[in-house]
Assembly symmetry: C4
Homo-oligomer: 287 residues x 4
């Protein structure tokens, strides 16, 4: 099929195509709007995204001592978000049998419960319930608070970004392993060389090879904080050559990722709309 | 059409093609020289660009205390530039009906007045007139002075750069949204992790998640000022892994933008001149 | 040939293809598993990789004063790794005549012994034996310890990365020489200019042109530690223009390397499997 | 012509092709070896490159106070290099009429004398002769010394790099002007914004818009020395957004340059060897 379907999301078509839907099916479609989502399903989708965004913002803002005065408000928003996510989680469990890959009945629900996205959903609400048992102002309590940020990953469900990234990592895994291997080898070799030549001049900073590696990563990624740098002439020569080499090598994984990313996006675009050969009219999309 | 039209801008052709132009049309052509601009129209174009350049330079130089002695000169140049831009603005308003998209008469003028470029033109002269009402040496006065720099955007009218950038952003909006989303997610997650592991060691620097985000942006873009960096071993491990990942992810939007930019420029070149097959003489441009 | 051979590494085929192998051949295949490695050969391959990894980790960890208490354990692992590598080295020498390029008999062994990979293998074990003659805590002893890290290069034998990098460097040597030449010329010219304009203001930091070059490399690679930077207005202007130019020029070798790398990987993939046209079944690989 | 001529530089062919060469022609060929250089011409070429390299190294090393003891040696090498370059310069002037583009006789010589490369050659020897009139240890004397480094540009004559860079800058001038314009606009706008929001908090560092621009260039190129950075919350927000945008925009000129560079190199390679259509056998190289 290579007809150019209009991109605007076909707001009305959802209601005519499937006239007889069970309630479970309707709830499932509300939670997982497909290509032909109805306007209500799209609206609900935006609502969930909004709750995630607000909830993540609250986690971030709650960490600011200046905003401690708003803490009661934050707590209320947090509670609302967690109840919302809890209902969403249970609804997803209930409607899991609608997804073919998991199978029907309780077995399907159990299988779904251990899928990656279901675990992320659970992780997004669990800290709230666990925090009820922890004393406030303890390390555990603070870590639980921070851990709520796992909700950022819930965006992945509503946006294709994480899926695309995953497919890029998969399709380019060979190139990435090779180039990341080269990068890591350069970090290890460079850091060891710097440890050898700078240890005597700066015994505290280049105290060991792992400590040197902090210099290596910060330098070869060109971050260059300035907390660690060579002071001896031979150290500067080694660092200079390393960083000139490093700029070239560190561009490899980034370049491979960028290339794979744009290729993957072009491919998924092609699959959506299809592209016809201008001569024979046959589809040009790769199968 | 794939004839190779000579690139030099066809200085003389403008006068023959349209022998009967109204005054309004002539003024409009002076302000908006098209492909077949007459030499006078081109000269006037260069003049406006020059006034913008000088006027922007004055805003920059006027901020230097060392050059306070030249302030009277700067004020005179500024006044001339503003009067020049004011006449230009009024002339553009008057000739707006010549542009088909806005329609004729006062309705067309009103519609034009609310277009982006007209608002930029207005913003370029307004601070001068408003400053007459403000006391000098107040914050408002200084902000008004700085705001005059909006004139830099007037270049966009005389140069295709902003138009091209806009089209690139539009055509690649999907890829850019996905990759910028990934970048922001990495910043938020990384900064929160760093807040969790470094807050106890550096309670002032990593005082909250937003404060941590300053570290996140400065590090993941590889700027690395050195005002904020981890000091604990676990913080350095988290930062090292983050920045190795970040170098790859942050190259995504830049790569997509660069790819779209050169593609867009190639496309606009193709449309201008066209390219013929050297053997059969048929157009090679994609359509 | 463009049949899609299954990627999983053909675990069983090795035993049927060559029913009559000499012991020397068998040992050689164990050390150098080809495309059609048997499961035992693959297992042994993983084992060697593991020993290299553990041995490199020990070199890194042994440099940490905090882990001095584990030194006896590290020494035992180190001794085991060296004996393992020694046996491997001797076995490789013994089986060298199986590799056609070196020729048979002792002449082949001698030629093999002076090949790059054999020298790396020797360098990986030599420091251990030499250290027996050196007093501990001397500089020589420490350097010998660090030199053991040359084992990282042994990975190159078991992974295609170094081979690919080598071929990229070879195929793009012309472009790389030109672009690296431009980069070095920019470093020299920029550093000399900075020496000329900043020497009077910072006689200690910009003490000579080579000292200036440390600034040049750190700045033009955008590392920017912050230990050396211009303070005078003219120095900042020179540095600003240099770094704006430098960002463009320094991306050249990285871009060429990345381009060559992905091209080389695509080429080696094509050669392995080939790609058929889905319609006519003919090979689509370039030849 | 699209036969694949062997790349090795055809050492012997030079003597047979032109059996009757005048002395002026012979000297000219020695100085400007073409595609079919004789071995002696190539040897002389390497000799000149060596003298340039040594002479540039002497300029660099002479700036080091530690090596002041070798100054007499450096002076002798310098004198030899200058005499060598002087003879080369005069020989080039004498043989200039052999180059068709300049025309014959003294008019050709005069025209050559004002060509870019001839001026570079003159600039490489002039400081030495001028320094004889200047007192040592004066600023003029030191600047003359540093100026000798212009000899680096003489490499451009013996290597295609500068020529290629020039052609890339020419062919991509439109894209480069647009993207560099965007980069400069971002620097100006960002720096002005930072001046507005940080001037009150750091009146010394962000003292004026040009001073802010130092921050802008250092930050947007991701050098990030750490001598200038925002301290206020609003300044950090502006800087964070600027640098996220800047990473994308600053990659544009670099990407365009890298793309044009590799394209130009591919084109010049094609022209040398030629590439035939596999079907009709006609040349595919662009004319």
């Amino acid at each position: 099929m290579c007809q150019i379907v209009p991109l605007p999301l076909g707001l009305w078509s959802g209601w005519y195509d499937m006239p007889m839907k069970s309630w479970r099916r309707k709830v499932h479609d509300l939670l997982e709007p497909g290509e032909q989502a109805s306007p209500w399903e799209q609206l609900f989708d935006v609502l969930i995204l909004l709750v995630i965004l607000v909830s993540v913002s609250v986690v971030v803002l709650q960490s600011m001592p200046e905003l401690a005065v708003y803490d009661p408000l934050f707590s209320k928003i947090e509670a609302f978000a967690v109840y919302f996510f809890s209902v969403e989680y249970l609804a997803r469990l209930w409607t899991a049998p609608e997804i073919e890959t998991y199978g029907g009945g309780w077995r399907g629900r159990l299988r779904y419960a251990f899928s990656l996205m279901a675990l992320v959903d659970l992780a997004a609400i669990l800290p709230f319930y666990l925090a009820a048992f922890a004393d406030s102002n303890t390390v555990v309590f603070r870590l639980l608070r921070v851990f709520r940020l796992v909700r950022v990953l819930k965006f992945g469900r509503y946006h294709s970004s994480i899926g695309i990234l995953g497919r890029v990592l998969l399709s380019r895994r060979e190139e990435l392993v090779v180039s990341v291997g080269l990068v890591l080898a350069l970090v290890v070799i460079t850091s060891t060389l710097m440890y050898a030549v700078e240890h005597d001049a700066q015994p505290k900073v280049f105290s060991s090879i792992p400590a040197s590696m902090w210099w290596g990563v910060v330098t070869l990624t060109t971050v260059g904080y300035g907390d660690v740098y060579p002071v001896t002439a031979q150290g500067k020569v080694v660092a200079g050559i390393s960083v000139l080499l490093g700029v070239g090598l560190f561009a490899l994984p980034a370049g491979i990722l960028a290339g794979g990313f744009s290729e993957e996006l072009a491919r998924s675009k092609r699959e959506e709309g299809g592209k016809c050969c201008p001569h024979c009219g046959k589809s040009l999309s790769e199968e």
